[in-house]
Amino acid sequence: MGYLDRQLSGPTDPIADAAWEEPRKRKGFFTDTSICIGCKACEVACKEWNAIPQDGNLDLLGSSYDNTGALGASTWRHVAFIEQTSDRIEQARESGRRLVDLGMPVMPPSQPMSPPHTAGIGPSPAAPGIDSSGGPVDLVGGMESAVAQATMAAATGTVPDFRWLMSSDVCKHCTHAGCLDVCPTGALFRTEFGTVVVQPDVCNGCGYCVAACPFGVIERRPTDNTVTNHGNAQKCTLCYDRLRDDQTPACAKACPTTSIKFGDLDEMVATAQERVSTLRDNGFTEARLYGANAEDGVGGTGSVFLLLDEPEVYGLPPDPRVPTAALPDMFRKAGMAGLAMLAMAAASFLGRRR
């Protein structure tokens, strides 16, 4: 089970794990929600390129400007709209501040997709929590810099009384992808770019992947002969066909403000790290990254986000774990149960016949 354990959790190179002979660099998104204008070009460009049918019943959902609701079989990019007044904003700043207090998070040196901290991301002034080697630093010991305190103080006085968050969500293309690992047919596979893609000609619509995704991304399209790939599991392919021709995925290409960035995942993570530092250095302590940590419950994601509040505010799980991480243990428990079943049956038949 050791082999399986390694394959199911912790930092790893998913392309190598899938035994690609000619691997490419792992590709990914960095979605910087701080510059998203909520235009939904990503939703449309995605649907147009992938010929995704209309989603929903054309009802106004009454949730701000969001009328597509969530990621699903026919919405592979979804823009969330969140309206917040100052108390919520203060909470977001406070929770972001706590991330520093906790010394969170630290990228372990083994982080496979993280570049050296000095490489090309410019100076990162007042970066508490990381020393020059990139390792963790004990902040409680008084390392919390005066600069950080000052920016916090500055930030405290300037909480706006309202804000409107917009964020384009997408498949996370997890390092450890629950959907992929539970797929019984091989319809879901890991591409040479490290992304996770459904093969619509293979999928038989068992729906298992839907349940296995810790982010609620993949969904089975309802059976309806008038639409393509009906009855199939559907989700973002990171435009696998375009990637094979070195083209940018449709959403990232359309995004008017470059809120959605696409590229080599290590560069995306570096860009995200640089951006979050800039924001936080300027007092925006609510800024944080999501999915940029290979030690997390899914081994890091292929879609990194910069968020301005706790993940659950955006409908993202705060501490997701891929269910398959516990699979070896599950099999062990099931094995014991199976033995118990056999034993009990045997016991029933042994002994007296009446």
């Binding site: 394959q7 701080s34 009454g62 949730s63 609701g69 969140i82 917040q84 007044t85 100052s86 991330l99 520093v100 010394g103 969170m104 998070p105 630290v106 970066a127 929590g129 990381i130 300037t158 309202f162 804000r163 690992d181 539970v182 019984p184 038989n204 729906g207 298992y208 839907v210 349940a211 296995a212 995704c213 982010f215 609620g216 969904e219 009855g231 800024a287 990254l289 940029a292 940590n293 994601t301 659950e312 409908g315 705060p318 501490d319 997701p320 269910p323 516990a326 699979l327 243990d329 599950m330 428990k333 099931a334 149960a337 199976g338 118990a340 056999l342 009990m344 049956a345 029933s348 016949r353």
Partner: protein, 354 residues
């Protein structure tokens, strides 16, 4: 005002009583009227993870699979102990249940015509793939065993067919016995290896519940169908199976996060499971006390069967509910995260600031 990185000198603004609300006369408004603030724990109350697109076919299969597995054991036990009534009925029941169960599975697919794609790969990480192979193997053995059973009835026992069937009879009996335990147990893993919180968090106990339930159901069926003079083993099996099902079920509830246990107690699932407990318990007691009486055995058997079925439906329903309400996803994750943070473990969060 949001996030200009270089905007360090935003004007001082009064936190809440500023222009936006203070101007409006300061009347406190009814929060329920508004575009709902995205709640701390969720995005407009929408689910974070998705419930699988499974309908009643799946719990039906869980039940039938268990019934088949338990019946397979009874058939094998009957064969080993030369109890023809149990052997015959066990074998036929196993085949019927496994066939019906397989049919239910196929019916639930989004693309039933691609059911055979289940055999396209062997995915050790996919309980459904593993289960499909188990099901196939069990089905094969059960078919052969049933055929052998028919072979015993053939008028020309000297024919090639009858001879062959006699030869394959013992291996088929052993095979279906061996595969019955995995068949009964894997369905627990199938449910647990998902992001549906209640299913996932019950992975330690659920296999025991399911194998117990399988034995109880099969014994129940045997109690109904078998002559009272041969039902001694199945009475024992009924009692032990029910005891395991009920005991493991209690353990499951006790060990689980109280919030995640909630769906097991509430609503439809709660009602189903309460009824299941009564029926299973009653069936077991009935089998114990009145099992030698044909009518008593029959009624107990019905209760056991129903109890097992309701257990499956109840567990299924509880898991589906836990996936639909975001609180079951977010709150335990949030607590888990805070607990780790309190313990000083900060390197494995998906939220990072760098």
């Amino acid at each position: 005002m949001t996030t200009n990185p270089l905007d360090a000198d935003r004007p001082p603004e009064l936190p809440r009583s500023g222009r936006r609300r203070g101007n409006g006369g300061g009347k406190r408004r009814d929060e329920s009227l508004m575009v709902p603030d995205a709640k701390f724990e969720s995005y407009y109350g929408r689910s974070v993870v998705k419930a699988p697109p499974w309908t009643e076919e799946i719990p039906t299969y869980l039940f039938l699979g268990g019934l088949a597995a338990g019946s397979g054991l009874i058939g094998a036990g009957g064969s080993a102990r030369n109890l023809p009534a149990l052997r015959r009925r066990g074998r036929f029941a196993a085949l019927a249940a496994v066939a019906l169960g397989g049919g239910a599975l196929a019916k639930d697919l989004g693309r039933p015509e691609r059911a055979l794609n289940m055999m396209r790969t062997i995915k050790l990480t996919s309980p459904m793939s593993v289960g499909s192979w188990i099901l196939a193997a069990f089905g094969t053995f059960a078919s052969v065993a049933a055929a052998a059973e028919i072979g015993r009835q053939l008028p020309h026992q000297d024919g090639l067919l009858a001879k062959t069937l006699r030869v394959v009879d013992p291996p088929a009996a052993i095979g279906s016995a061996l595969f019955s335990a995995p068949l009964a147990a894997y369905t627990a893993v199938l449910l647990s290896d998902t992001a549906a919180p209640t299913w996932h968090e019950s992975y330690r106990e659920l296999p025991f519940v399911f194998v117990g339930s399988a034995n109880a159901a099969a014994a129940g069926l045997a109690l109904i169908m078998s002559p009272a003079d041969q039902n001694g083993p199945v009475r024992k099996m009924a009692v032990s199976g029910a005891a395991l099902e009920l005991g493991a079920g209690q353990l499951l509830r006790r060990n689980m996060h109280p919030l995640l246990a909630e769906p097991l107690h509430q609503g439809k699932a709660g009602r189903l499971l309460r009824a299941a407990e009564i029926l299973t318990g009653g069936g077991a007691i009935g089998a114990m006390l009145f099992g030698r009486n044909r009518i008593g055995a029959g009624l107990s058997g019905v209760a056991l069967l129903a109890g097992s079925a309701l257990t499956r439906f109840g567990i299924f329903e509880a898991g589906m509910e836990s996936a639909k309400d975001p609180k079951y996803t977010v709150q335990p994750q949030r607590e888990r995260l805070e607990r780790r943070r309190a313990d000083g473990v900060t390197n494995d969060s998906i939220t990072t600031i760098r």
